[in-house]
Each structure stands twice: as C-alpha cells, then as structure tokens.
Symmetry: C2
Subunit: 339 residues, 2 copies
Amino acid sequence: MSETGKASGLVRMRDVARMAGVSTMTVSRALSDPSKVSVEVRERINAAVQAAGYLPNRLAGSLSSRRSTLVGLIVPNIDNSLYSTTIKAVSEVLRQSGHQLMIADCGYGSQKEEALIGAFLAQQVAGLILHNATHTDHSRAMIRRAGVPVVEIGNLPADPLDMVVSYSNHEAARAMTLHLARLGYRRIALVTLPARDNDRTLDRQRGYRAALAEARLAEDPQLVVEMPPGLDSGAETVARLVEADAPADAIFFAGDVLAVGALLECQRRGWAVPGRVAIAAFDNLELMRHLMPGITTLRLPRAEIGRRGAEILLDRIQGRSTERRAVDLRFEIVQRGST
Amino acid sequence: MSETGKASGLVRMRDVARMAGVSTMTVSRALSDPSKVSVEVRERINAAVQAAGYLPNRLAGSLSSRRSTLVGLIVPNIDNSLYSTTIKAVSEVLRQSGHQLMIADCGYGSQKEEALIGAFLAQQVAGLILHNATHTDHSRAMIRRAGVPVVEIGNLPADPLDMVVSYSNHEAARAMTLHLARLGYRRIALVTLPARDNDRTLDRQRGYRAALAEARLAEDPQLVVEMPPGLDSGAETVARLVEADAPADAIFFAGDVLAVGALLECQRRGWAVPGRVAIAAFDNLELMRHLMPGITTLRLPRAEIGRRGAEILLDRIQGRSTERRAVDLRFEIVQRGST
DNA sequence: TTGTAAGCGTTATCAA
DNA sequence: TTGATAACGCTTACAA
C-alpha cells in the first residue's frame, strides 16, 4: 500500500520511476524537458510525482550537471533600506528565472568579504553580486579560479573584477557640491560615514574636493567630518557645524540618514533651514520629500542597479553573453526647500 | 610544474590528495576534523590546499553526508526595514555556526510562499524560518514530508507548524488601544495595512476590538481603515479621519510608517498633536523618537526574534534539542508626546 | 522515445 | 592513523 516513502518520507527519483514503470532517466527528462517524453508516459510520471509528493534534490542535480541555480549577494549591511531596495530588485529578477539568492553582509571590510566569497563559491554559486569594490588579493584569486561571473554594484571601480553596474559616487558628490556652490553657498561642509575601508565614501570625499576646486572655494579641514550612521549622528553634527566659530552655511550629508537627523534637530532648535544652514542629502529616501522643508538630495538608481545587475549576470550565467560590461547609471539632483 | 589545476582552474579533493601523497579520505578528515589526522600529514595537506587554492565543493559534501548548511528565510517583503532588522539578527547567528542564509520574499500571499518553500526544500535546506503564519495545505505537507525544523516568527499562530518565536500581534494591538483609552481618548481609530491574507493585521484588528469592548467604547466602522503602506498613505488617512463629520480623537496606526506620514502631515497643516488628534504607532522605528512630538509606539523585539529564532532552529538542526518550542516575547508601550 | 552505464566530488563505513 | 569501496540522487553520453 504505502509505497509513498519508507516511513522517512524521503522520496527519490528512483521511487517515482518505479511507480510510473519507467527508468529514472525518463523521469528526469519528463521533469526538465517534458517534450522529450511521450504524452502517455509523461502523464504517468506526473501522477506518480503528485502521489508521492516528490521534490527533486537540486544538490544532486547541480552536482551532476555542474550547473547551479544559486547566486550570492554580498552587501555591507543588510539592515539598511538603501541596500534592501537593491536586494529586492535583484531577488525579483532572479526568481523569474528560477534562481535562488543567498545574501550575506560583510560590514564594510574586505576581510569578512573574503570569507563570504569563499563560502559562496564552495556552495558552487553560478554568479556573485558584490556591493563593495575593494577586495583582498585572495578574494580576487578565488573568483578567478572559480571562473564565475561577478557584478560589482556599489561604485565604479578603477580596476573592476568583471562586470559593473553602478553610478559614480565621485560624480554624484561632485555634482551636489557644485549645485550648492551655484546656489551661492561658500562654506560647504561634507559629512560622511567613516571612510576607512570604504571606497564609496572615499570617492564622495574626492568628488567634493574636486567640486570645491572647480568652484574656486577654499577647502577647510574643519568642514570635512566623518560620523557613524544614524539620526543622532546627524543631529549632533549639524549643531557642531552651525555653532562653530566659522560656521558652515551649507552641509552636504553624504551618507545614511544623517541629513534627516540634522533637519529634525534644526526643527527642535528652531533653526531656519536654509536660513541658518542649508542641508543636502545623498540618497532620495521617501522621507526627504515629506519633511519641512523637503531635503535637497540625489536620486540614485538603487532599484535599477539591482535589476540590471541581476540581468547582465544572468546573461552570462545562461551563456547569452560573454561581454565584460560596465554600466554607468545616471543620477540626478532633486532640488527642494532645504537649500 | 603546473599541477595547480588543469587550465580550467578546477581543483578537487583528489588533486589535493595526490599532491599530499594521501587518499581523499585523509584530506576529507584533515579538513573536517583535523584531530583525526597526524600532525605531519595534516601539514602536508594544508600546504597542498594552499598551493592549489582548493575550495571544497559543499554540494558534493552535503549530498554525501546528507547534511546541509543552508537555512531558508521567507519574509513578506525584503524591502522593509522592520524585516531587515530581523534578517540581520538571523544572519549573524547563522554565520557564527557556519550556515548560509537564503532569503526570499513572498509578498503577503501563501501561494507564493508555497512555491518558495518547495524551492528551498529542493535545495535541501536544513531548516526554514517563516514570517507568515498562514500556509497552504500543500506547504504543510511538503514540510512534514521533508522533516525539516521550522520556526514561525511573525505572529503566534493558533496552529503552529513546528516552533514559534514571536510576540502577540493581538496583545500588542490590544495593549496600545487600552493605553489610549486610559489616556482618555474616546474615538480611537485603527489604521492597518490591507488585512487580506495577512494574519498579523487581522490579529491587530481583533486586539483593537477586544480592547474597545473592555474599555466599553462603542465600535465605529468608520474608524477602522485599511491603507496601503507608505508615508503618503498615512498623510491621507489622518486628513480624512480628522476632517470627518465625527472625527477621531486618537489614531492608532498599526503598520508600516503610516504614523510618520500622518505626523508630518499634521506638521504641514499646523494641526497640534495631540491637541487636534493623538497619534500612536506600532513599530518603534528610530525616527519615532526624533519627530516633534515623539510618537507613542510599541517596542517590539524585532532583533531578538531573529536571534532566538535562529538559535532554536540551530538547536534542532544540530540535534541539541527535539522540543517544539513556542517562545512568546515581550513588547512594551513607549509613551511619548504624540498622545 | 526510452534505457544503460558511468560519473559529478564528497563522506560513511569498515578494514587494515 | 590511514585507506579502499560504496554510496549520496541526479544527469551526461551513448546505445537500443
């Protein structure tokens, strides 16, 4: 009676084959490419699959075929809505082609990234998506040996591993700084996250400096600040920069939700924005538009990066392309009341 | 010279074994339990592993040992900081024990969840973490047959699949509604996300009704509203409920960032909070504390749910426990200026 | 259209 | 402590 798995509930292709009176090979074909099997046999197999509650073992399948449906994604911090916008887009594209997404976060360090790359390659991922653009030599060696396609999505690196889909952090920071200069601000401060081990933050600082030079504004070391992420951080910084002996007239918060914390602190203190100080932000979070005043910011293609990144990775995984593409996506400045 | 992989770069355990002059079994032991191998041989093997840049193939390892290091997590929406707090905590715990996390989102529907559960089981995950508490019969059947441990984390279901780590949405909504009643509000509105296919929202609505009954407040269907997520949604709703013929005197936004959108709309319109209307929220986002006034809300154990959930799952995966535990974590009300 | 045989790269088992 | 052999559950390659 109960051919349906021997107590353990474990059903293998063999069992389905026996039930349908065919060989495992025929079952395999019926599942992966039904057109290769006669209608009659196909129906018997489907019935057996249903009856047994059979689920194919992809571990065995991938091992045998040397093809995997796993893609690894490494971001600096899962717990951050900026990254999750991208993650969501990647995940949608991959699912539609039957791939599975493995996600890990590496903090902002390339050492931890190395361990994760090793773990993912050991799982035989078909491809990798990396947010950081800084990697250890060993990471590079492992990726080269494994021969899997890689997309870097957090920045436009000078020396890419393989493919790239991103915007330019340098250009974005430069554009916003020039925008502030054009609006007439002369003492423009830059607040970023800690730059150590973070190529994106470094590029933003460089972009800011480039813009100051172009606008013929003097660079004041007092006006370049690194802070940990968070609303409190932004609040603290705006107070410090506005109450300094030589105060900033505009502050460009190039990271996280620092600008929001700053604006809310100004509200609490009754400081007019931009009367007392102008505030600009980096990422166009939905919130920026709802605050009073709305915060001037950059619209970055977070979702599109995820989508295009996943797409060109799949093109390579599925052999539709062999190019090492580099896609530079656009950003734009959203001018609002805060500047 | 170049024994280091035959051009393709693919190095198998066999190759390492040959280089070290031992059998593959000895290499396998040296990697998984070095104490079982003599020091001298171990060193030769380590040297060969380094020289060859060998990465073990976990697909083969898992297939052979019938053990997997993969854990599947299914949330309603990756792109939501509430879930990402939990995801982060899960991910940390799993990494520390050498497990990999596969993440997918199922919208709020159990049909899509079913497909994902199937995909994860096909990958031979060692365990599953599910945020939704509503599942199809087929999902339940697959999980039972596969025999993998499962933790549900989004709610306390009446009929759990296996283990549960969560707070009670019913009790949380009830507690906040009673809190508002005790503060003297008499026309308390409830705004939730769409309740269809969402056991958490349904429980919140039930908890609200239970509290109204306890507080002997009449239930007004006009005061129970379902809205899509988002700041705009909250803004729109507060306007509607305050300008109604019989306006609400307090609004409990039981979902997403609706309360933030509402408070910001009140700021824009110059409505005093709580003078014109009181506002309470569900999740204690960092922002709630920074707004003026601060928003009264519930402190929910988002991170602890992830941590404990992952821990008890690992206890079962690693055979340290066989219990079907249900953990009811605490929440608490954070009273602030908005009520 | 279907089946047979030989792997895929590792680990369990048992023997030396 | 080490090794030989046989799985693990599937797919590739080839034969019928």
